[in-house]
Amino acid sequence: MTEAMPAPPKLSDPERRTAFLLSLPAAMILLIMFILPLGLLLGVSFTGPEGFSLAAYQRLLTTPHYLSVIWNSLKLALVTTALTFLIGYPASFAIARARGGWRSLMLGCLFLPLAASVIVKAFAWTILLRSDGIINSTLMLLGIIDEPVRMIFTQTALIVGSANVFLPFMILPIFAVVAQLDPRLGEAAAMLGANPAVAFLKVTLPVTMPGIIAGVALVFSLSVSAYVVPTLLIGERYPTLAATIAKAYLLTQQPAFGAAAGVVLLSIAIAVVILSSRFGRSSGGLS
């Protein structure tokens, strides 16, 4: 399935200069807005009252409470990623296989919620999940429960809300890959004797792996660092790394500790992206 990319043509000196000039604004933006602040963040994280110090990292990585905070962020990201994948993977095929107005409608349903603020979506979930909200009312109407079940400010509410907010970021990369697939691939596998399950596992899943990996990396990175969604859907009772950073800067005025938490959070996100891309290369998906 993998095709070798053609080598880029050699550029002349004037072309190189033009290319350099054209890339300069983007490079400067990256340097000023991304690399420089990250360098400062890293520097601050290693400071203490008497200069260089590892105290912030020691406190973050050895205190049971802060280890549970790191685990909370990881758990939220892992469950959100798994849930969005389970919903998003078949949904991507449905959109890719739909034709004409149906496809436009489905894509519209996917894109329109992106225009709504995360805050609005989080508030909407608190309305849906409350005691007299539509979910409790429906469950009671169907006789599944006798009295309202507490859903708001629970981990279930957090996961449901988080999956809802980040679902488009799983669907879109997978859809982009699935839309390019030749539908005859499945037929070819069947003609060669593969049953539908084998055809899916041996053909469809591997060729859609680049989309899956991109979706997983996106959703994991976004949900591990989410601040607004946990703050509004569960509050202080589910402390996360993002909330710890905010508290360190805004309330306890401990910039080194906040910076260290930021570095740990960033390291987790970077590790997932690197692992994903390595897995993508080794899985042999479409290049």
Partner: protein
Amino acid sequence: MYKTSIHRRSLLKAGGALVVASLSAPSILRAQTKEIVIGGPAGAAKYFTESVFPLLKQKLGVTVLYEGSNSATNLQKMQADSAAPKFSVVVMDDPIMIKAADGGLLMPISTSGVPNLGKLVAGAVHRDGMWANYQRPWAGIAYNTKSGAPKAWADMWDKARAGKIIIPSIQNTEGFWNLLIAAHLETGKPFAEAQYEIDAGFKKLKSLVPNLLNVYTNAPQAMNLLEQGEAQMIGGQFSAYTLTRKAEGAPVDLRIPAEGGFAMPSGIAKVKGGPAPELADAVIDAFLGTEIQAVLAAKAVVAPTNTDAAIPAGYPDPASLFAPDWAFVAKERGKWAERWTTELL
């Protein structure tokens, strides 16, 4: 191969002109439209925008750009922008004002620029004009009227209210009231002594956890849940939030329980080195004047601080309101925030 017509010099010139134009345009526009940036509490944004800022526009011709957040966030912004402040005026609680003043972020005001400063009640001007209280809200238990009024602070611990109580985070200034009440209930000491019994406060507050629906940092969300009946009470909520919603017809009210309520002065200050310093004086003077104070008193049922303004009907007896040692709160709150997260939640 095409030959590019872009020359480095022309590119740099065009880029430079663009940067200068984009940086200078907003300040030119600001100068023309007489704007001022005020940082203040998010919960006050609605009634400030509807009732106070139109008066400022009418009296001073100034358009207010309001940045609503919690006080701790605004303090952080002031620290970050201290070299080139964005805010001209800040509206914050006294414990945060103490930190801002200690950090050298405020510019003292005087009667020469702010004449109404001389007309305030005793104790409303702090540290020789570093900041002044423009209103005195009061705090008690906010409750949903359908679930019945609480009689005592201890009602929040009633097992029948499991999952129905909301309290503010210690990150919010009003979060201190529940710690103080818990210390009072645990030790039996009066508020004046109980405010220093923080260990006892944490112990008692821990027993409130089964009753908690949420610990909020976002007051409007908490009020929303109270209005919907999802929560029955918010402990330590104050008049400026609850009674404005009551006035608009929401099924909520505020009660001072048997043990007493709390005074929660709101301050206004001029930011050191902030833009438009003369306009900042004029805006602060207007906040301390009778016209705006009368509007705030009527809208939020807060006591005015200008001696010429009338205390509104429904304002509780000031003797029933306890004012804590804010300097102690300001000094210790960071440590309490750590304990709050690690021990309580």
